[in-house]
Every structure is written in structure tokens, then in C-alpha cells.
């Protein structure tokens, strides 16, 4: 099968009726057959009873033929590499990968070159993405200047300029005093801090999960404790400062336990994970397979199961792609020298749907983790299927089987998927941004 088509036509969207759809709106629990009417960039009406008397004239009709119609996915953790590393990904190729994956809004990390730590950089990303007109892009800004982990970034002005939250990206804020001040300063503006929860001194120069597998492969290990120590420390600092805190890509059961306890104590804490951490374990590293070199590292099967449990019980609020494009030169290396990370935009939906097909989540719950949950915690007006919302939609067949083949199908400039060759179920048929069809899947 082919990879589907990116639609670049810029004619203004008219009125479109999506009929014969299975409507999914996690925010209201709606899961019923029905139809949706969009007018221009806005959803006009949603409902099981819509168009019972037929579709009026002058309305374009899209027959969903029983497929699911949900809010477009909101991916709260992607690296788009522009500006600075356009050989790995650009705002355009990243946007194409996003809409091919059903993602209509994404939040990008500030680890570009230059770093997104001033108002001009925030505005550059927003303006470029708007001109490209594919998925909507919202930037995180740096929590510390230059991502150096030392001096506060201009969180107040960056938030006003549109930064959704603040993070040092793929680096943890290691110094406890700096983190305390970052959290306290962010709390002044009710800004959220997103942490890569890994104690840097335990991870520096290390390659994969610590344990038997690493020992057999002769690779240095990052212990589970690296995640747990950082989260434990951060929970103390959250308690001290009252700041909103989000733990990115949880990978361990110990880490999930810390977040679970913090939530039970009422701390303003949320978390996400990415598909590799609930769908793969350290065995994927196999014979030094660099596409499985991720940060945090793939963990043990026991941890993978604990992450699934944490998604099910709501400890983990959100599933994000953790899209980290790397070019061939960065990955075709001895394991020690290869870059960390995997692309994820185009596999986010089908791999997440495994949780539905395996009976861990209902379909509506799985979609909630990808839409309404991230939108809600980021304060984004997205992730809803309701009248008045932006017409950002995805039509998908949750059952359609296909095999992940990055070289053949991916729109992302980089092909480094840890899911290369995996058979999955769930196919994006159509992606709509602001009422305009931006992606058409084959069939």
C-alpha cells in the first residue's frame, strides 16, 4: 500500500458534511453513529441525528463509510528540527508527517538552533507553520536560557508570545536550586514546566536500560533510579513552589508510582508517555539496533507492563509521539555513537490503538489520551468534536491492518522508527485542518 497524499490546495473550505461516521468525542463520552457539518474553518454541528432528512444542496459530502471521526490528534511532544537541523526534519516535512498520522496540533520542543528562548523564535515557528498550513504548531520555550540549565528564560514574555509551556527539552534541569527557581518563577505566571525526568549524572554517556540485556551486549546502562530520583526530587520542589509540572515520556514503573502518589496527594502534576514505552521493551535493542536507542531507554518487560497500567489508571494522562527525527548518519553508527530518538508522528495512532485492540482501553479512552487530555492540560482550544470548535478532524479505520514501512510510507524526512516492520491496526483515511482536507489516505 502507498503512503497517502498530502493535499496542498489552498482554496477556502466551504461547507462539508461528513456522513456515515462513528463519532468520537472523548470530552463528552460521545461514541455513536452520526454526522458532522463544517462551515469554513469551524464545526457547525455534530450529532447522531444530523442529516437524517438528507444533506442540503451546495454542501460537499464526505462519506465516511462507517469509519471513525474524531477530533484531530494533539501531539504534545515533537522535535521538528527547524531552524538549525533541516537535514533531519523541517516544519514542512514534520507537518506532512503529522497530518499523515492524523495529528492536527503539535507542540514542538525548543531544542532547535537557535534555541527557542526568545520571543522572536517563538514567533518564527508559529508564523512558518501557519504559512505551511498543515498541522498547527505550538512551541514550548526553553525554561533556562540557551537550555543551559543555569539562568531563567524570559518565561513571562515568552508565554505572552505564545509559548505553551516551558522545558529544557531532551535535557533534565539537573541543578536542584535552578529547578526550584524555574518552578517558582513559572508559578508566578501560572506556566507549566515540562521535565525530562532523568538524573543527568546517572545517565551521562550511558546508552540503554541498565540490566541483564545491557550487560550481555556490553553497553553501559541507565538505571531505573535515574528516572525515580529526578521525579522524587521534583515532587519535593513542586510541593515547595506550587508550580504546574509535567513529567514527559515516563518509562518506568517506579516513575509512574511517584506520579501516582503525587497525584493522590493533590500536587499539580501530570505526565505522558510515548508508544515505545508501552509497546516495546529493551529486547528491541537486539543486536545493537540503533533505531531502538531512545531517551529514556527502552526498559524491561516489567516496566512496560507498569506503563500500560499507569495509562489505564490515568496516572499517565497523555500519549505523545516523542517524535525525534535523526538522519542516516546519526543512526548508522556503532550503538555508542548513534543518536538517541525515534520518529513517531506516523505511528502514534496505530500503536496507541494496540491498547484498544488488546483490551486495555476502550476506543474512546485511547482517543482521549491523544486529543482532549493533552489539549486540556496545555490549555489548547483543540481536541473536541463540537459545534464552534475549529474543524480539526481525523477520519480513521481502527481495524485496518498494515505493516509499518518507513522507507515506503513515511512523509517524515527521517525514517528512524523503532517500529520498523511492525504489523499494526488502525489507518488514517483523512485529516482535516481548519475545515480543509490536508491528507487523504489510500482507500
Amino acid at each position: 500500500m502507498a503512503g497517502g497524499r498530502i493535499m496542498t490546495e489552498r482554496k477556502p473550505p466551504g461547507r462539508v458534511a461528513y456522513i456515515n461516521a462513528r463519532l468520537l468525542d472523548p470530552a463528552t463520552g460521545l461514541d455513536a453513529p452520526g454526522a458532522v457539518l463544517t462551515d469554513g474553518e469551524i464545526v457547525m454541528d455534530v450529532g447522531p441525528g444530523l442529516f437524517q432528512g438528507g444533506v442540503p444542496a451546495l454542501v460537499e459530502v464526505v462519506d465516511c463509510k462507517g469509519a471513525c471521526l474524531a477530533p484531530g490528534l494533539v501531539d504534545m511532544r515533537v522535535q521538528l528540527r527547524e531552524p538549525g537541523e533541516e537535514h533531519k526534519e523541517t516544519l514542512r516535512t514534520g507537518g506532512e508527517a503529522a497530518v499523515a498520522g492524523g495529528v492536527t496540533s503539535m507542540v514542538c520542543l525548543p531544542n532547535t538552533d537557535p534555541v527557542i528562548d526568545d520571543v522572536a523564535a517563538v514567533e518564527f515557528v508559529a508564523r512558518r507553520a501557519r504559512l505551511i498550513g498543515l498541522a498547527k504548531v505550538y512551541p514550548y520555550a526553553a525554561a533556562t536560557r540557551g537550555l543551559a540549565g543555569a539562568d531563567l528564560a524570559e518565561i513571562g514574555m515568552l508565554k505572552e508570545a505564545g509559548a505553551l509551556a516551558f522545558t529544557d527539552g531532551v535535557h533534565a534541569i539537573g541543578d536542584a536550586l535552578v529547578m526550584r527557581r524555574v518552578l517558582a518563577y513559572a508559578a508566578t505566571f501560572d506556566a507549566m514546566i515540562v521535565q525530562h525526568p532523568e538524573e543527568p549524572s546517572l545517565a551521562k554517556g550511558r546508552l540503554m536500560n541498565e540490566g541483564e540485556m545491557a550487560t550481555r551486549l556490553g553497553l553501559s546502562g541507565i538505571p531505573i533510579a535515574a528516572e525515580a530520583i529526578m521525579l522524587d526530587r521534583d515532587m519535593r520542589l513542586v510541593e515547595l513552589t506550587g508550580a504546574r509540572y509535567h513529567a514527559a515520556h515516563l518509562s518506568t514503573g517506579a516513575g509512574a508510582d511517584i506520579i501516582r502518589r503525587a497525584k493522590a496527594r493533590g500536587l499539580p502534576v501530570t505526565s505522558d508517555t510515548a508508544p515505545p514505552y508501552f509497546a516495546l521493551n529493551e529486547l528491541a535493542v537486539g543486536d545493537w539496533r540503533t533505531f531502538a536507542k531512545l531517551s529514556p531507554p527502552l526498559r524491561s518487560e516489567e516496566d512496560r507492563r507498569a506503563i500500560v497500567a499507569a495509562i489505564v489508571d490515568g496516572t499517565i494522562d497523555v500519549i505523545a509521539s516523542d517524535h525525534a527525527p535523526q538522519d542516516q548518519d546519526s543512526k548508522r553508527q556503532p550503538f555508542a555513537q548513534a543518536a538517541f530518538g525515534g520518529v513517531g508522528l506516523e505511528t502514534l495512532l496505530p500503536v496507541t490503538l494496540e491498547l484498544f485492540h488488546n483490551g486495555h482501553l476502550t476506543l474512546l479512552q485511547a482517543i482521549e489520551r491523544l486529543t482532549w487530555a493533552p489539549a486540556r492540560l496545555l490549555g489548547l482550544a483543540a481536541g473536541r468534536l463540537k459545534a464552534g470548535a475549529s474543524a480539526d478532524l481525523v477520519v480513521f479505520d481502527p481495524d485496518r491492518a498494515w505493516k509499518i514501512d518507513p522507507e515506503a510510507h513515511f512523509h517524515s524526512k527521517s525514517k528512524n522508527s523503532p517500529f520498523d516492520g511492525r504489523p499494526v491496526q488502525g489507518k488514517v483515511l483523512r485529516t482535516v485542518v481548519d475545515g480543509r482536507c490536508v491528507y487523504l489516505g489510500d482507500g
Partner: protein
């Protein structure tokens, strides 16, 4: 000897002073304001007494203000500027105190970079000690001069809403003002980013705000604090421009306060950091120069109240 008007030997802080004691000092200071505005300012209340300005931290205005106050009361004033860094603390501070005590000094006006250092020194001398600022703890004469400025302009302290804005965490001026204003029945707010507020500040009896417009709403007095240079660049706040944008006092933010709200600043000001230059120079609103004038009168009142009713230091307890 008549009954002393102010039954204390030292003025180490505002905390612990009662409203009557504060009123006594302010009433006396009111008299000295008038004295200072006349041509002949030389009095003889403290004739023959010896006062040392003992400053372990750089100061121009406070030291000069105390020096003028002592001289106008007829006392002999000596300035000792000691670099705190060249002094090992603890024993040497006490040695200094004992040495000066042996010279029969009647009063020491002391500033020190460490909180509590002035109180320690006061335990070792027979004369009076006035705290001219200890670390981040207290600066009692600043709070008194601020109170005098407000009282003369507004006619009262009771019931006024005072917003103290800026680096509260490191400010002795803020602490002394909080104690004084609370004691006198004013409503005190602090407005600052969380990085510049000490833990549990609300336990001192203030309302806490992180937004200038909310914190200044219907305030009678807007009291700005100085932000030290070393705190401007990333450690406590990201940058000067961001600080001024959100916490610097300008016309726009001042609109939230009452139309007749007064602006105060203990000086020296950072124009364009914590305060807009136009506002600092606004003669209708800015009390900054009046504060300086009140400073001399308040310090005369303090020296008078502490020393005039008391025997000179003969070395005997």
C-alpha cells in the same frame, strides 16, 4: 533625670515596638522636620555625647543622614567604614564592640551585611545601639521615615492599603515596613515574582500578589524596592526587560492604584528596572525626595529619644 519618653536603650528593629512607641518617635520627628526647615539648625540636646557611625557595608545616604542628625543635635559624630569582608565575623565583631565600648561611646549606629549582627553587638556595649540595617532583617529608621512621610501626606497610617513591590526576599526595608505598618493598622500587600518572595511571608501578616495590577488595585501607597544588580540576570529573574515589563512601576500599572496613590522608594533607584523614570520624577506622586528629608528628622528623633533621657556612658551598667 526626667522619665525617658522612650524607655529603651537600643533601636534594633521595628518588630516588638508598640503603636505608642512608634507614635512617640513620629511625633518627635515631626518637630524636627520643622527645626530642620529653619535657618539655624544647631541644637544642643546631645552636646558632649559621642556617636559612632559603624558601617560594615557601603552606604552614602543612610550614613550621611545619621551624621547630619547627630551633628544637628550637638553630638560628636565619628564615621567608621569597615569592610566586612576583611573582618572575620563573630569574635572580631565582638572585639570591635568591646574596643569602642572602652572608649565610652554613647551610641553606635551600626549597619552590617549579616542579619542579627547588630543585635549581637548590642549585647556587648553600655551605650545605645541603633540598627542602620542588618542583612535582610531590619532597617527600622527607614520604616519610620516612610511612616512619617505617609502620615504627613495622608494624615494617618491606620486603614491605608500599602503595596510593597519587588525584591521582598532580600529586603530589610520590606520587613521593617511590614512590621510597622501592621502595628499601626495599615493593610499590607507584597507584590513580586515568587523567586523574590521568601517562604511563609504571608505569616508576617501580608497579602501576597504576583501580578502588579491586582496587587496595586486601590492601593493608597505603592512602595517600590531596589533590585540588586547581581539578582537581575537569570538567577532570580530572567532579565531586566522582563522584570520591568511585569514588575516595574509605570503609568499603566499605577492606574490600578487609587488616583491619589503615593509612590515611594528607599533609594537608590534603578530607573528603568523597578521604576519608570517619569514616575520617579513626578512631583505629584513621587515621595522619594520627601523620604530623604524625613530621614534626617526621624534619625534626630531616634537619637534624641534613646539618648537624651539617659546618662552618658561612664562604663558602668
Amino acid at each position: 533625670m526626667p522619665e525617658p519618653r522612650f524607655p529603651r536603650r537600643h533601636l534594633l528593629g521595628i518588630e516588638g515596638l508598640g503603636p505608642d512607641e512608634i507614635t512617640t518617635l513620629l511625633d518627635l520627628a515631626d518637630i524636627y522636620v520643622e527645626v530642620n526647615r529653619k535657618g539655624d539648625r544647631k541644637g544642643n540636646t546631645l552636646l558632649g555625647r559621642t556617636i559612632i557611625n559603624l558601617f560594615f557595608e557601603n552606604s552614602t545616604r543612610t550614613r550621611t543622614s545619621f551624621e547630619l542628625a547627630g551633628k544637628r543635635l550637638g553630638a560628636d559624630m565619628i564615621n567608621m567604614q569597615v569592610s566586612a569582608s576583611s573582618v572575620t565575623k563573630g569574635e572580631t565583631l565582638i572585639d570591635t564592640a568591646m574596643t569602642l565600648n572602652a572608649m565610652h561611646i554613647d551610641a553606635l549606629v551600626v549597619r552590617h551585611p549579616d542579619s542579627g549582627a547588630v543585635q549581637l553587638l548590642a549585647q556587648k556595649v553600655n551605650g545605645s545601639v541603633i540598627n542602620a540595617g542588618d542583612g535582610s532583617n531590619e532597617h527600622p529608621t527607614q520604616a519610620l521615615l516612610d511612616a512619617l512621610t505617609i502620615r504627613r501626606r495622608k494624615g494617618r497610617l491606620d486603614g491605608l492599603t500599602v503595596a510593597i513591590c519587588g525584591d521582598v526576599a532580600h529586603s530589610r526595608v520590606a520587613r521593617s515596613n511590614i512590621h510597622l505598618l501592621n502595628t499601626m493598622g495599615a493593610r499590607v500587600r507584597v507584590v513580586a515574582p515568587r523567586t523574590l518572595l521568601p517562604q511563609a511571608i504571608e505569616r508576617l501578616g501580608v497579602e501576597v500578589f504576583h501580578d502588579m495590577r491586582l496587587g496595586l488595585a486601590d492601593a493608597d501607597i505603592v512602595m517600590m524596592l531596589r533590585l540588586q544588580n547581581e539578582r537581575m540576570n537569570g538567577s532570580y529573574i530572567p532579565s531586566i526587560r522582563e522584570y520591568f515589563r511585569f514588575f516595574g512601576l509605570d503609568n499603566d500599572k499605577l492606574k490600578s492604584a487609587k488616583p491619589d496613590a503615593l509612590i515611594m522608594h528607599p533609594g537608590p533607584m534603578n530607573r528603568g528596572v523597578e521604576i519608570d523614570s517619569d514616575l520617579a520624577d513626578n512631583v505629584e506622586r513621587s515621595m522619594i525626595l520627601q523620604q530623604v528629608e524625613m530621614g534626617v528628622a526621624v534619625r534626630m528623633a531616634c537619637l534624641d529619644a534613646l539618648m537624651a533621657g539617659r546618662n552618658s556612658n561612664t562604663g558602668a551598667e
